[in-house]
Amino acid sequence: MSTLTVAKKDFQDAARSRLLAGLIVVFALFQVGIVYWMTQVSAGGEPIEMASVLDLMVIPTYILLPIIGTMIGYKSIVGERNSGSLKFLLGLPHSRQDVVLGKFLGRGLLVTVAVLVGFIVGGGLLFASTSSFDPTVFVGYVLTTILLGVTFVAVAVAFSSVTKSTSIATSGAIALVMVFLFLWDVVMMIASEIAIRASLMDRLQPGEIPPDWYLLLGNLNPRNAYANVIASLVGNSNPIDSVFTQDWFSLLVLGGWIVVMIGLALIKFERVDL
């Protein structure tokens, strides 16, 4: 109950932020833009398969949404800690857990709204201009995208709970985005290079399936897990037959990030001096 009170207040407060309103607009414009370009410009007004539109949306979504999710979450707790309003909040009968969970729920709802607004507008346009609108696939696509956004909110809120100053939080948020969008791939390249040099694996030939550990490492990145789920949703056949690229495993990765990050935040924030 107390968690929900914090979540509600936080949503009310954060939803009035101009920055966040701007992010929602950017995301919506981007959804509409892709759909419009695909259906009107690229296809020249001819009917187009919904799956190919959704498929094309994946890469821009998984670049933009981690940024949006991180921006929504990274100041959520440290911002209040720096300004002093956290002492107002915790002077009330809320536990530290209520604060972490309430912030996560409030900001998670915010990213959900951002995704929904984008997809309602984009989806409307898609529905109007495709011959093959499949509501089940579309809903699955929206829900998976929300899950990706919430995952990054969880990472950012957790990070926000263990940081002491807003300036560290800002550079940390940039670092987080870099890790998931860029550094992860670099690490994977380095890891495979080391493995090849150490004769643990052979250099991959085109069409060859990488070893399981490599697939696992790749799919532990929520961005890749998301892309895998979307690929099978829109009917792209997956040539790789590994546990680590299955939908259920990918969804587990996304859920796992949320649970582990929020869990760590709960433990850490419980003991910290404000």
Binding site: K8, K9, K87, G91, L92, D273
Partner: protein, 317 residues
């Protein structure tokens, strides 16, 4: 038999931040229904103490209890029964005053029909601002709103950390009036300040903190006598006062009596001054006027916080 439990009790509370010792074995108790003034210069550890009471920080050693409950283990249950005005406060700029009050009401589980937000903002002196966003509030208005919020749910204990910061003189008067009204209702008030005249006017007892140690605690008058501070009463009388002199001399706490024409000058401990006046009148002497030169809390505070022993040595040398 009913045991009385202190509202706030700190026993040997120590707080270290790395190498720095913020609190060095503080013992403190606040009793039910009193106004307790927590004094000390900036940096003495007042906020650290309040942070421990509210579980914003954990003590390195020692125990803190509120209503007999452990401040760390049962913090949420404690905070359900108290109102807090934190130091260095900042509110939610994008929310209105009413939304803040509503959030506090909901957080404390007070039924909405049991509360009148208009009456609250009226009481703290910002009735016109109830539906305005807090980002447009001055520091003093935020402070008033936070005070109003702290009163929601009629808390048994009200903790105010430097409550007068940012307030204009009128705001300070409002604050003082509200503190006294809340005590009349039965609440206990604990507030910290480095400004003394506010404390002197409303406090039943004070505690003085210096460098993380509580160097004095008690009613102001007691602290004055323990410091050897004496009040000097100058009493103007209409009649011959010869008969009253010996009676006044025998009053407990009186150390010297002298007369000069119609004026009697009495040196005594501060609590004895009323007895002195009564004794003179009982002796049949009419008191026309009197003046009092008492050691002020200011000088008392200075002597405690600057190190009284060093000062005494100097005087004797």
């Amino acid at each position: 038999m009913r045991l009385t439990v202190s509202v706030i009790r700190l026993e040997n509370v120590r707080k270290e931040y790395g190498e720095l010792t913020a609190l060095d074995g503080v013992n403190l108790s606040v009793e039910s229904g009193e106004v307790y003034g927590f004094l000390g210069p900036n940096g003495a550890g007042k906020s650290t103490t309040i942070n421990i009471i509210l579980d914003f920080a954990r003590p390195t050693a020692g125990t803190a209890t509120v209503f007999g409950m452990d401040a760390t283990e049962e913090s949420q249950a404690i905070r359900d029964r108290i109102g807090v005005l934190p130091e260095g406060l900042d509110l939610y700029g994008r929310l209105t005053a009413r939304q803040h009050l509503e959030f506090v009401r909901e957080s404390k589980g007070v039924p909405s029909e049991a509360i009148d937000f208009e009456a609250i903002v009226e009481r703290v002196g910002i009735p016109e601002a109830i539906d305005r966003k807090v980002s447009g509030f001055s520091k003093g208005m935020q402070q008033r709103l936070a005070l109003g919020a702290a009163l929601i749910g009629d808390p048994e204990l009200i903790i105010l950390d430097e409550p007068s910061s940012g307030l204009d003189p009128e705001g300070v008067r409002t604050m003082r009036k509200i503190i006294l009204e809340e005590v009349d209702r039965g609440a206990t008030v604990f507030f910290s300040s480095h400004i003394l005249d506010q404390v002197e006017a409303v406090c039943d007892r004070v505690g003085i903190l210096r460098d993380g140690e509580l160097v004095a605690q008690g009613p102001i008058s007691e602290l004055q006598s323990s410091m050897g501070g004496e009040a000097v009463l100058e009493i103007e009388t209409a009649d011959s006062q010869s008969g009253a002199i010996s009676a006044v001399e025998s009053v407990a706490g009186v150390s010297n009596v002298s007369t000069n024409n119609g004026t009697v000058t009495v040196q005594c401990s501060p609590p004895a001054k009323i007895d002195v006046l009564n004794t003179i009148q009982e002796a049949g002497v009419t008191v026309e006027d009197f003046s009092l030169d008492e050691q002020s809390l200011e000088s008392l505070f200075m002597s405690y916080t600057n190190g009284e022993s060093a000062e005494k040595t100097e005087v004797r040398a």
